[in-house]
Symmetry: C2
Subunit: 331 residues, 2 copies
């Protein structure tokens, strides 16, 4: 029986505040380059007062992945919490306008926290550094997970970042149980090397016991298995999970499946902003999976989608991804 | 005596919601292409529910002009009303982060209206159509005008759009009186042909009695003087005001000053979104004026700044305008 949904993503719902920074800005403000750091509302306000003119684009890692899939016409849904405020309205609009189902109850207008926002600082070398105020996205609980929805999807896609909230681990468990019980599959992204450091044991258990498809980049993979040798880390992961899809920046991605390694090449694009590269890789890869492609084609679709997102500012697709797949002879 | 400020702009403070639309969208929703139409909060909500994924960038015509000048290191201030809400915070941040003084009192959080927003719909031919919910920007009154600030600037820059609020006409009068009494000069933009239609007599009186520098485009100029012949309209305007700077799209701009016509050529750029072309033309032109350039050089600076803004989405400059002026041998 065909299920009504193909992929349901769960993660931190937020709006990105995108700004270009000079090289000295990060050291001046004590910010570590290239990673995601959690900050509180006060720190977010101080940081905002120091960054230059910005633009706001809906973000959130898993939400970006779902938006990418929705833009390809895939039946998707998203679970993540925003508040009944202007940024929450923007987030919900952009996801629904892309065609995804989004029904997570809003945090009420009198909630002490606001809709989450991610200050994305793009350096002259196009690297992105993220300081995230989680806001109400942190308050996602098992109650926000609709078991019927989880049973009605082929795949769920869990964002590692959401491990930063204890209640959300319960939400993940509920989603996994409902999805698996109905014959669905589970994909996870490790999200960030420091997120992996914070929750290595929980990730490890999740991967071994429940995950069918693991997304990560090389830094997260090394952090996960505590080795500098990527090939060792990949082999350990490949022994624990059916498929591992690990992006390696300009080198594209390595896919491990059934004991075989595949290497998908990155596309040749002028990089503007790497924000969302991993998220859109996952969109492309999952599109390949649900349309029955082989692992290498899935990886190439991931690379093409990632290439689109890094060619402009913001982590939501602007070009027609299916058109790009056709141009790369993938469709 | 040198004044601390060079240009103070007064206008509708708002955040732009930018979206790409297909060709049929405007006719389907009964929206007239290429112009600015005022809409109420309800209509804005309905429209928002129909447009695709968007991005938010601070806008407001005069605010864009001031942001452009501030990015060039010019001492500027802006007067326009936002609310104590998230979009208001974004607007204020982006202007101040660009270096402009912005001290207009916020409308309180319990005000019935919200911070103004402009739904900017960009068509495949790069034309932009704007539907504007004025929100609290409509409630700018004479009380919001600080006469000391108006006396302390070489120029004020008035946005024609703001004629759509009766209280703001009084605010304009107060600003003009304080500025002129202290030896300052007055520039105005006609903003939009339909805005001109709505307020032709008030504009005419303002131009004849107070304006030193008039900005407009060809459509506004024709509407202002009710003739299809641009050269006739320009000659009438030139007889009433010291300088007329009229943009003519891909043909650049015509400048009339002291009975002489100058023709500044448009720069050769790949057009992405024409939003803000007129606003940034005014930035460039005013930069020329306050740095003592001749009318043709002022016009060319206007064209270069306009060329920058139409080469990307959004009406706030992304590239370094002074660097572009150097590349065009204007600095």
């Amino acid at each position: 029986m065909t299920k009504p949904l193909k992929v349901v993503g769960i993660g931190n719902a937020m709006v990105d505040i995108l700004s270009h920074i000079e090289d000295g800005f990060l050291t001046e403000h004590g910010i570590e380059k290239g990673i995601m750091t959690l900050i509180d509302r006060e720190r977010a306000a101080v940081l905002y007062s120091h960054i230059g003119p910005s633009m706001e684009i809906s973000g959130g890692s898993a939400a970006n992945t779902i938006a990418g899939l929705a833009s390809l016409g895939v039946a998707t849904a998203y679970v993540g919490k925003v508040k009944d405020d202007q940024l929450g309205e923007i987030f919900a609009h952009d996801l629904r306008a892309q065609g995804a189902v989004y029904e997570t109850p809003l945090a009420p207008a009198d909630h002490a926290a606001e809709t989450g926002r991610c200050t994305v600082m793009v350096s002259p070398d196009h690297e992105r550094t993220m300081n995230t105020y989680l806001g109400v996205s942190e308050f996602l609980t098992a109650e926000d997970v609709d078991t019927d929805q989880m049973a009605n999807t082929d795949w769920i896609y869990l964002e590692g970042y959401r491990f930063d909230g204890p209640d959300s681990v319960a939400a993940f468990a509920k989603a996994i149980d409902a999805c698996k019980a109905a014959g669905g599959k589970v994909s996870v992204t490790l999200s960030d090397p420091f997120c992996v450091e914070r929750h290595r044991d929980a990730f490890r258990e999740l991967i071994r016991d429940h995950v069918d498809l693991l997304f990560c980049n090389e830094h997260e993979m090394r952090a996960m298995y505590e080795t500098e040798d990527l090939s060792i880390a990949l082999r350990i992961a490949a022994a624990e999970v059916e498929t591992v899809a690990c992006t390696v920046g300009a080198d594209g991605a390595y896919i491990w499946q059934d004991g075989t390694e595949y290497h998908a090449l990155a596309t040749d694009v002028d990089i503007v902003d790497v924000t969302g590269a991993g998220d859109l890789f996952a969109s492309g890869y999952l599109f390949g999976v649900i349309t029955g492609r082989d692992p290498l084609t899935c990886g190439q679709m991931g690379c093409v989608a990632a290439g689109e997102i890094i060619s402009h500012i913001g982590a939501r697709p602007e070009a027609d991804l299916s058109e790009l797949f056709k141009q790369h002879n993938l469709l």
